[in-house]
Structure formats: structure tokens, C-alpha cells
Symmetry: C2
């Protein structure tokens, strides 16, 4: 198992844990330049009454607190769903090096569709983006969650 898949598996476990809390099941992992996981989280918007508490925002804020900096150059972020425009912009503002995301999000995504955040001159730092790792598992977790709510 590659390290990419290992980190995405951690993010998928965070997504599943979010589902058990009644949160939209999305998980994220932040990896420091030395390869260590410095933060991992699932969505907590309902628990925290905070519409910005997406998994990506939670790991970026925790990583910045630990680093004592508002920027995280050389850090990589793994997330189970294509980031929304809010998270994609935060990823850029934090100067994240690489983003690995699993499932595409035609409904709310902001990277490969809709506002395509990284494609405009207003985006001052463009990370490398890799999609598809663990997409099948991520989609299944989301499908199960929404099927159970119908």
C-alpha cells in the first residue's frame, strides 16, 4: 500500500466517523513536509454550529496553530471529496503544496467544476491536484449516508 493510499484511508476513516455523528461524511488529513500526519478531521458543521467547519478547514486551522503560521508551504492535504470553493480558497491561502481528493463533487465542488477556484488570476497560489485515489470508497460512504436519511 502506498503512502498516498494510507493517508487517504485515514481520511476515509474520518469520513465514516463523521457519518456516525450525523455529519456529511467527508474526512481530511494534513501531512507535514517530513511525512507525518499533523491533523486529521471529519466534518463538524452541525456539532460546532459552524458552516465553515468542513474537514479541510479544520485540519488547516489545526496545522497552522501547530506550525505557528498562517501558511503551510510543503504540506499536503488528503480529502475524501472534491473541495468546495471555500475550502479550495483556504487551501490556496495556506499555500498547501499538494491536494489529493477522492470523489468528485458535481453538486458543490469548486476545483474541477463550477467556480474552478485554482483557474483564476485571483488565485495567488495553485497547489498540485491529484484526484481519484479512494474514490470508490468515498462515494460508497456518501451514498450510504444519504440513503439512510431518505
Amino acid at each position: 500500500m502506498t503512502r498516498f493510499k494510507s493517508h487517504m484511508d485515514t481520511a476515509l476513516a474520518e469520513a465514516s466517523a463523521a457519518a456516525t455523528r450525523g455529519e456529511v461524511p467527508v474526512g481530511a488529513v494534513l501531512v507535514a513536509p517530513d511525512g507525518h500526519v499533523v491533523a486529521q478531521a471529519g466534518n463538524r458543521t452541525r456539532e460546532l454550529n459552524d458552516p465553515t467547519a468542513h474537514a479541510e478547514i479544520l485540519v488547516i486551522r489545526e496545522g497552522c496553530t501547530r506550525a505557528g503560521s498562517e501558511r503551510l508551504p510543503g504540506y499536503d492535504l488528503y480529502v475524501t471529496l472534491e473541495p468546495c470553493p471555500m475550502c479550495a480558497t483556504a487551501i490556496s491561502a495556506a499555500r498547501i503544496r499538494r491536494v489529493y481528493y477522492a470523489a468528485a463533487d458535481p453538486k458543490s465542488g469548486g476545483v474541477a467544476q463550477g467556480p474552478r477556484i485554482f483557474s483564476h488570476p485571483q488565485c495567488h497560489h495553485v497547489p498540485e491536484v491529484y484526484d481519484g485515489i479512494g474514490a470508490g470508497e468515498a462515494e460508497q460512504i456518501l451514498r450510504d449516508f444519504f440513503a439512510a436519511r431518505r
Copy 2:
């Protein structure tokens, strides 16, 4: 003086206060449906080591905490600069009713330029947007801040 100008004046005062802290001078005010100010803030990204600590995000998070909800229908937001795509998406996610912003932001804006967050089907709630109130003062505060840093 209209109430719109009064709330924007409060936001402008928050922008000036941010400048004295060495933060990019942007201020925001959140107004509840009953017309009362429930949160006001200036940027604190440096102080908090948090790239998401824009004025808009800070007032939305505080307003949600006070309301005990991740959504703020009927609330209005005043901000001295055109929201970036992160903040515009958070405004939509929070179901803010109206956004009043002062100065345009060709460099980093995400409402009237670049990703134009509210113009895509991936944006599930589109607030009413009014621009230009207090634009001259907001631009002057920004110009003074960046001139002093050169």
C-alpha cells in the same frame, strides 16, 4: 445617515483597528433580522495564525455560535472589501440574506470577478449583493496601510 451607512461605518472602524494590529484592513459587521449588530470583527489572520480568519468568517462563526445554528437566514453582512471566494462561499453556506460591500477587490475578489462564486449552479444560496457603500473610505484605509508598508 441611513442605517446602511451606519453599519458600514462600524465595519470601516473595524478595518482601521485591524490596520493598527498589522492586519490587512478589512472589517465586517453581522446584523440580525431584528436589526441589531450581533458580531463585528476585523481581519485577524496573523494574530491567530489562521488563514481563514477573515473578518467575514469571524462574524459568521460568532453569529452562528450565538444563534446556535450553522445557518443565519435573514441576517445581513456588511464588509469593507469585496469578499474573497472563501468568504463568499461561507456567506452562501450560512444562508446570509444580503451582503453589502464597500470597495471592489480586483486582486482577490470572488463575487464580481474571478470565480464569481454566486453565479454557478454549485452555489445553493445566492444572497442579495449591494456594493459601493463607503467604497471611498475603504479604499483609502487600504491604500494608507499598503503605502506605509512599502
